[in-house]
Amino acid sequence: MSEYAVLGKRVTRVDALEKVTGAAQYGGDVHLPGMLHGKFVRSAHPHAKILNIDTSEAEKLPGVRAIVTQDDVESGRRVFATDKVLYLGEPIAAVAATDPDIAEEAADLIKIDYEVLPAVQDVMEAIEPDAPRLHSDDTKDSPARRAITAELRKLERDKSPADHSARIAELNTQLEATEDDVYYNISAETHSAAGDVEQGFAESDLVVEDTYVIPRVHQTYMEPHVSVADVESTGKVTVWASTQGPFAIRSGIAGTLGIPLNQINVVATTMGGGFGGRFGVALTHVPAVLLSQKTGRPVKIQMTREEEFTDGRPAPGCVIKLKTGVKNDGTILAREGLAFWDSGSVSGASIGSTIRLRGVYKFPHLKVDAYGVYTNKSGTAAYRAPGTPQVAFAGESQLDDIARKLDLDPVEFRLKNMRVEGDPVPAGPNEPKVGYKETLQAVADAVDWKNRTKGPNQGWGVAIGDWTNGCGPGGMFVSIHEDGSARIFHGSMDITGTDTALAQIVAEILTLSYEEVAITRGDTDSAPYATGSGGSVVTFTMGNTAKLAAEDTRRRLLELAAERLNTDVESLELKDGKVSTIEADPPKSIGFGELAAYSLSTTGGPIVGKGSFARKPSTPALAAQIAKVEIDPDTGRIKVLKMAASQDVGFAINPMAVEGQIEGGAVQGYAWATMEEMQYNEEGNVNPGFVDYRVPTTADLPTVESVIVEVEAPDGPFGAKGVGEPPITPTLATMANAVADAVGIRITELPMKPEKVVDALHGNGK
């Protein structure tokens, strides 16, 4: 992209220095004078009635300043458990004391009387009629049963003389036959369809059916949740919070505690990773505010790693029953999917992503049904392209089996069925301009796919995953200083290098160097509204906002320059930090600094460009990956020999940051495929720490080769698409497909720990 001076360059991030020197301030680094420390009293059972909460002993402990329970939450929104605990580690109360140890001792002194209830941890057990029930009103008929019931009711109400008895009997028989399609503990459901799958399967030469099981995994951001809340005597609340969405946190606290928005300031600290898991309000923020309100002193609550595992909001596991029909020539005809998502104790699992079982292929016939299911676990939240790695694992594993059965090259097979611009998307609008084929081809080329070789027990796997970035509201100001440098003011959280991209965009438009643009992220009191940093929205949303703000700044610079140079705006242009005449001879120009100084005495006032923006159509992006693995057939250990990852990013504003996203996402996907899994028994989560919840280290896999593909997004800033989420989507299937190619076994239940691989090789795996 040589036409740009700053965009498309590998610039050093704006926050580089503070991060390599240890100066960056994270939530845990905030320390206020007189600060108290908060601790939780947590449920000791995964499912139990709370009979009594006795805080009297704890209150007597010297140093204890306040204890809060759900009684202190006037809105009634669930912050603490009251009548019933729904998972091991659910908060029941919080204590503030002068020292964390005293707070902890006090928490131990709070006596909870329980009536222990049977718990359900498995999603497929939870939907059965005899499962313990978490909530009332949670029984759901399948859509087919609902259709039968509706027809029955209609016939029964029919007052006409027609005799429906035969049909009614038939429908009742059908109802009895489908009793298994009544599901219990259902939190949510979604259904979509296109074409007629039954017809599609009938026309297929090959129909493959399987069940895929994907475990619950934790985002495992390195910084645990932390908040410091300080409530002044006026009632003004300030919260230093590690969060992806400071403005969402502000409304969450306001709504839960009935505080006006202009009385809450959320100061988002440098964030130690989020991946979707750091939007929650109730985990630490609201309890810290409650304790500070009650004590009049600042209160810090920091979760431990163990608490992160038991009371974080991880990604849901799920069970997907999937059936795909194809013609012998490799034309895909039909797919039917039924997914049960493990929501934990509250609704909210990313079941909407089940529709992505359609992938980027031309399915003439598609039917997708999905249910969220309550279990006695903590609730779930987003994790990098929420829901999509799970469904892509099922969909892409099954396609791989089909390619093998039909003896088709897995890359060619996918390319043949991929949608292109204008193709109908099953249960969706037609495709805009997309780069699916280019992206898959790019990764195949990177590894010289056609000429790939392998030794014994080695195999190659390929898979793809698609994702469309979100878009949200955002505002921004750009000001020009009297020395000609610029500063951006905004309120959007940066983890991945988005602030750097914003500075690049503003520099490009204003013809400044990257170094001449500084950026300030304000708190919610001082910055304009910005959408949360999740859903790969920041570069797309704030990038467009930055473009608008920079263009507004340019407009004002041109107006001022026209005034100073006695010419009109049309004959002027921005060049190297000056406003110059386009054609005048001799050329005349005036520096931004001079204009900024001049602006201070004009009626229009200082140069402040504004950008404000809410919604533009975003364009789907594809990630494609190829892995080469070697299996030790005796120990079952999987070694990655090669990992290549391509992604259509529209336009890479900072290729270094983009590669970092691709590499990081692929490694998270690798980990989900091979080692990560939150394990539960009847008492709850049993691996709440890094010893038995394993995340990969530097020693586990080689360099990830990232391949940037750029198929412009029409409405993205300079063509850019959201980058953060897609790279995790294909990896689960990539790894499983590579294992299948290496040793001829198909593992449908993740993670592929050594024991699972060995069992599968013995023929008794799942």
Binding site: K39, A44, G89, T304, E306, M675, T697
Partner: protein, 298 residues
């Protein structure tokens, strides 16, 4: 069992001692019997104290006692390792790498570099974990454990040191001061392999160490140590008997592996099943035996 949640950064209060002699340390242990813990590298004790699975009122650091750190090798008397020698030192020591290879490999499997800069071999063994990474190598290398107290010293073979998970032969007031292994010649080799998921920073699902001497193609003096597959680390004596005095063939290795599996008595837990552990014992017994013999032949 209900779990209690705590912020793990803090430890319960305790009184801290830094004795400068074994006698003083031993006397403190006796005086505060049941309420005191020894601190070596701390990588097990501090985790347990954070988790409140250990709540000692007294912690006795061994760091200021002279003579507990170091590695000495003598062709006649063999190897002596001080109990407070760090894992990282064992892993990198040229003599241990060359002659007691399995021990260097076992030490190198403990945690990561930072942990190995803290963790000590004495701590690893005294802790009594069935999965200790240096236990199987020390078993295979015929180690003796030096134990001292205010009342004197004694030496026990490592085979009889472990009594059960977290339990050892150490009596009140006794402290492990070091380890001795017989001298080893150029025709002796050893290897330790552990079954794990991650390349580093994993606990052993199964650990197997084998040592062998080779003479004219036959192996002798074979010792096989197993970890994480029984209530204590143990010797696979049945497998040793099968291969001792014979040339290693695929068939013999298979038999040895089967015998080692049979001698193990693993449990199923969240890491893997007993069946998997038993199977891996066989695999790793075969592999380490072969490698030990190969290394013995140079």
């Amino acid at each position: 069992m209900p779990r209690i949640f705590r912020e793990v950064i803090t430890l319960r209060n305790f009184e801290f001692f830094e004795p400068t002699t074994i006698e003083d340390a031993s006397n403190l242990l006796t005086q505060y019997n049941g309420k005191a813990k020894l601190l070596a590298g701390g990588t097990d004790l501090i985790i347990e104290m954070k988790a409140r699975t250990a709540t000692p009122e007294y912690v006795i650091s061994l760091e200021n006692i002279p003579g507990l750190v170091g590695i000495d090798y003598d062709e006649a008397t063999g190897l002596r390792i001080g109990a407070l020698t760090k894992m990282r030192t064992l892993e990198q020591d040229p003599t241990i790498r060359e002659r007691y290879t399995a021990l260097a490999e076992g030490a190198g499997e403990v945690g990561g570099v930072q942990i190995r800069h803290l963790a000590t071999v004495g701590g690893n063994i005294s802790h009594g974990s069935p999965a200790a990474d240096t236990a199987a190598p020390l078993l295979a290398l015929g180690a003796q454990v030096n134990i001292a107290s205010a009342d004197g010293e004694r030496t026990v073979p490592i085979e009889s040191f472990f009594l059960g998970p977290g339990q050892t032969v150490l009596e009140t007031g006794e402290i492990v001061t070091g380890f001795e292994c017989p001298p080893r010649g150029a025709n002796e080799g050893s290897q330790y392999i552990k079954q794990k998921i991650r390349e580093v920073m994993d606990l052993a699902f199964v650990g197997v160490a084998s040592s062998a001497k080779t003479d004219n193609g036959a192996v002798s003096d074979v010792k096989i140590g197993l970890a994480a597959v029984a209530p204590t680390p143990l010797r696979a004596t049945d497998a040793e008997a099968i291969v001792n005095g014979n040339s290693l063939t695929a068939e013999l290795l298979e038999q040895a592996g089967t015998a080692a599996s049979a001698q193990s008595s693993p449990i199923s837990d969240l890491r893997c099943s007993a069946e998997h552990r038993r199977e891996i014992v066989g695999v790793l017994t075969r592999r380490t035996l072969q490698a030990a013999a190969d290394r013995a032949q140079g």
